[in-house]
């Protein structure tokens, strides 16, 4: 049987990936450039008996999917910068209450209303630190539609495995560009189902007592275990506590379950890194231009390589350090004022050899843009 091949927008690839992963509840609010995700799911979810609801704002959208997740649904919402700003308090709630959910932020120019129809990668640090308080977060991205599909499946898998919100940080170029998508067959990609508690009715269930492997089996609302879910610091039953030992233990658990796994959560792609003396580090649509330049300069005998990051947070510092150890120069390519740059500098042995190649004018960064900056770094002039 032949594969199903489609010619789609990135937003549609995200929708297909989410449905493949088992998405059955979506709540959202229209915002450019993410709206196609809501439009497509308003069609596709009811057709398969799933739930779609258009809420009154982005705050309500994230709140609604958190509520639905507690009943056992696989849930998602999608937005862009201004809506992502509104979601930050509820995002912190999902972190604190450890509720699986996937939040898509299709980045556009900011701050504020910015340039809604143009590209940017300006929400990288908001994804990391947008909600208040110490916490860890998983943020993933991709540069082409096949990867958008796969990383969306991965977002659901990690969200269920670690009981945490996962942010899919796409950008306007990937979201609206059309290209080929080969739909994987059922079973071709691994999908993680929710870990449910084996504790029987009438036996004390501890919703917030991690197993030895750190995982927290869940019990659906409406099931046999009645417990409390709160954004307050809570004990293993989910009830509020100000006991210093409990506070410390919970914060450590929330951060360690993700930060201590930075290495295994690292998703990335390598292109010509073996002998590269200049390493480009890029992600999302910027990685497309970076890859184009690398292939072009390779044909001229220049030893350029690309490290494309798909996991942005927790920052894959080990991966960056090892891949950059022999490089004369490391060039971070992003469409912002250098939001990932400081993390790269912290990771490598020679931070003085890390440079930024960027655009912040709402225009997609081209291979020529990156090449011009490389020439300046190499002292060749423009």
């Amino acid at each position: 049987m032949g594969k199903t091949v489609r010619f789609v927008q990135g937003n549609e690839a995200c929708v297909e990936g989410a449905l493949y992963a088992g998405l059955n509840f979506y709540a959202g609010y229209p915002i450019t450039p993410s709206t196609e995700i809501a439009e497509l799911l308003s069609l596709k979810l009811p057709q398969r008996g799933g739930k779609f609801i258009q809420m009154e704002d982005e705050i309500a959208s994230l709140c609604a999917i958190i509520g639905a997740s507690l009943t056992g649904c696989k849930v998602m919402t999608a937005t862009s910068g201004p809506g992502f700003s509104l979601m930050q308090e509820a995002l912190g709630y999902a972190v604190m209450a450890e509720i699986p959910c996937v939040i898509v932020d299709v980045q556009r120019g900011g701050p504020s209303t910015g340039i809604p129809t143009h590209v940017s990668q300006g929400d990288v640090n908001q994804a990391r630190w947008g909600t208040h308080g110490d916490h860890a977060i998983i943020t993933l991205t991709a540069s082409n539609h096949q990867d958008v599909f796969a990383i969306t499946v991965e977002a659901f898998n990690l969200s269920e495995t670690y009981r945490t919100p996962v942010i899919l940080l796409f950008d306007e170029v990937v979201a609206h560009m059309r290209e080929k998508l080969v739909l994987p067959e059922p079973g071709e990609l691994h999908t993680v189902e929710r870990l449910k508690t084996a504790v029987k009715e009438g036996v004390d269930y501890h919703p917030y007592l991690p197993r030895e492997d750190g995982r927290l089996p869940m019990s659906d609302f409406g099931g046999v275990h009645r417990y409390n879910v709160t954004g307050l610091v809570h004990d293993m039953w989910g009830f509020p506590s100000t006991e210093p030992r409990v506070v410390h233990g919970l914060l450590r658990h929330l951060v360690d379950k993700i930060e201590n796994r930075a290495h295994e959560l690292a998703r990335f792609k390598e292109f010509h890194l073996d002998d590269a003396d200049i390493v480009l580090i890029a992600y999302g649509s910027s990685a497309r231009s970076a890859l184009h330049l690398v292939e072009e300069r390779r044909r001229r005998g220049e030893r350029l390589g690309l490290l494309e990051l798909q996991t942005l947070w927790p920052f894959p510092a080990d991966v960056v350090r090892t891949r950059c150890s022999r490089a004369r120069a490391v060039v971070v390519v992003e469409m912002n004022m250098g939001q990932l740059l400081p993390s790269v500098k912290l990771a490598v042995e020679r931070p003085d050899r890390v440079f930024l190649a960027n655009r912040i004018d709402g225009v997609f960064i081209t291979p020529a843009d990156i090449h011009n900056i490389l020439r300046i770094i190499q002292g060749k002039g423009v």
């Binding site: 009811p46 809420m55 709140c63 507690l70």
Partner: protein, 268 residues
């Protein structure tokens, strides 16, 4: 079942101040649920932030203590995902109608089958006595040292206008009536609102020199009257209590079920 079988007794005594009306709402709610014969596993109670929202910690249901003003949005997600569950959403006046006002009117507009209980003590208690959108004019509060100039919402009229299909008002003085209207509200299919006029002696009473809790409860007795009573005609300043709206109308989750049938083209 006895009332105590619905409670998480290990968390008592509760955190509310002596004389607070919230415990009477809890009592009325539990007795209503007892009469309805609902199973504890079938009830989800979702609250926001504030004194009133801490009610969820004391009841032995599936409980969710969420973020300020957003309880109805969380509850909407739970209900649409599992329409067979009974959703009860206790809120304070500031929680429901200041920060949560948008979610309140939209839940009413959808006519989704949630029971909203607004415990209206006309003050922000948890933060120490600031005026709320239900305080009304000429009220003293810690953020109104020269008394309020902000007009109040009328929860009944707001709910009716927004599309709620069951709207009632009661008070903590009228404990029996309070429990009865909560029972009717839960039984009602669609978005139900019960406004409960309640007392905050610690802040509202003290700041406005109304007196202690018994005097505040007596104030509720003296200043309210059954809906449509002759007393109201003679004294329009009286606040009416009773059932104001009780309509049959398409409920959101049932309509969604029909939408799915259309989308699946009868394949289900």
């Amino acid at each position: 079942m006895a009332v105590k079988d619905y409670l998480r007794e290990r968390f008592f005594p509760h955190l509310w101040c002596p004389g607070c009306g919230h415990g009477e709402v809890l009592g009325g709610l539990i007795r209503a649920i007892e009469r309805l014969g609902l199973r504890k596993n079938d009830i989800v109670m979702v609250s926001g932030i504030g004194c009133s929202s801490r009610i969820v910690g004391y009841v032995d249901f599936h409980t969710m203590h969420t973020i300020h003003g957003r309880a109805l949005a969380f509850a909407t997600g739970v209900k649409l995902a599992r329409p067979e569950l009974t959703l009860i959403v206790p809120m304070g006046d500031g929680d429901a109608l200041a920060i949560g006002g948008n979610h309140f009117i939209h839940a009413a507009r959808r006519n989704i089958d949630l029971t909203a209980i607004v415990m209206n003590n006309r003050i922000y208690g948890m933060t120490g006595g600031q005026f709320s959108p239900l305080s009304g004019v000429n009220v003293s509060a810690t953020t109104a040292p020269f008394r309020t100039i902000d007009k109040s919402f009328d929860i009944v009229e707001l709910s009716r206008a927004a599309g709620a299909t069951f709207v009632a008002r009661s008070t903590t003085y009228h404990a029996q009536h309070l429990s009865e209207v909560i029972e009717k509200a839960i039984r009602h299919k669609g978005f139900s609102v019960v406004e409960v006029l309640t007392q905050c002696p610690t802040y509202f009473g003290r700041k406005n020199r109304i007196g202690d809790a018994p005097e505040m409860v007596k104030w509720l007795k003296d200043h309210t009257t059954p809906v449509g009573s002759k007393a109201k005609q003679e004294n329009p300043a009286l606040i009416e209590r009773g059932v104001f709206v009780d309509l049959e109308a398409p409920e959101y989750c049932e309509e969604y079920g029909r939408l799915v049938e259309r989308a699946m083209g009868g394949r289900r």
